[in-house]
Subunit: 198 residues, 2 copies
């Protein structure tokens, strides 16, 4: 088991997880959304894809026992455990500079899209795509008529989700810097999160 | 107004629609799903993106009056009219060779992903991405607990959706060749659809 490693507040972090290893993503302070992407270590043109996962799961989100699928429809990781209330999002794109401009920012705002690419770069990788992320701990409820809203996380400090890699993977995380919407709690405080490879 | 042009059953077709022009996508025989993509004519790295549209619309699908947004969060088209019951899908990826292999096909099966790229190629364009499509007339109901299912379309012959281009666009359509699931009706009969530029 590795030490707990930090996903610094507002920043991205990537880690290689080999087939058969598990990784816990920990909401250390209880209110932090962690955007996550999973790439095939040996072919970064293959990556976890929400729109390819939904046709197989026939679900809007995931729960323990579910696998997550790539854009080539192969299972890349399995959800092994979830100690949180199980509220996660697979609908919303990663935040980006365009998003923060529309939200009124006139200067650069940290964002999950840039964090994905800087996290990959730190490990020497590059991706031309920004797949739609798994927004772990993010609370985007839907209604029967299809309305969506941004709500504060319902997690507690220490809640974690554990994934098992089904192929050699790169997991990339971003401690989402969204401090304008209630994505990371109504106070918009952005915190560190952690992960641990088992 | 152009003539009605065919989207041949099982095939893709692309068309340039300039800013301010409108285009009707017509379910001629009443049961045919039409996958659709919209690219910025002047920069194919910008395209309509479901995961970037949802954060702005705060909806799982669209209705008249809504705009559709690109991966750069710009409005690329507006939904002007919808004479169908308004059941469309923005959750499921385009079908592809991997999908049909998993559904048991041992030989090549026509698919919307290949149709996207062949449609573009016929006009001399190329895209490295397969964005998550707008699946016009596709019936993927969701439940309050997040379950999804593939159901037959609820459209009538001649139902159409009309979009107005907000920038110079390439619209690409695929008359979805899914004949294994009830996507195109319980009999799995794949039909022509049509479009008309106004």
């Amino acid at each position: 088991m590795s030490d707990k490693l930090v996903i610094p507040a507002r920043r991205g972090k990537a880690v290689i997880v080999n087939a058969g290893q598990s990784i816990q993503v920990i909401n250390t302070y209880g209110s932090q959304v962690v955007d996550a992407w999973i790439y095939n270590l040996h072919d970064l043109n293959e990556f976890q894809s929400n729109e390819h996962t939904r046709p197989t799961l026939l679900k809007l989100s995931f729960e323990p026992g579910d696998s997550l699928y790539t854009n080539k429809r192969r299972a890349i990781a399995e959800v092994e455990q979830d100690t949180s209330p199980g509220v996660h999002d697979m609908l919303m794109s990663a935040c980006d500079t365009y998003r923060y401009e529309l939200l009124g920012c006139t200067e650069y705002h940290d964002n999950c899209t840039d964090n994905l690419h800087s996290g990959l770069k730190e490990l020497g990788f590059e991706s031309n795509e920004t797949p739609s992320p798994i927004n772990i701990f993010m609370n985007i409820p839907w209604t029967q008529n299809g309305s969506l809203s941004y709500e504060p996380p319902v997690t507690q400090p220490g809640d974690y989700v554990q994934f098992r890699a089904l192929m050699d993977c790169i997991f990339v995380f971003s401690a989402c810097p969204q401090d304008i919407l209630p994505t990371n709690g109504i106070r918009g405080e952005i915190k560190d999160a952690h992960f641990q490879v088992l």
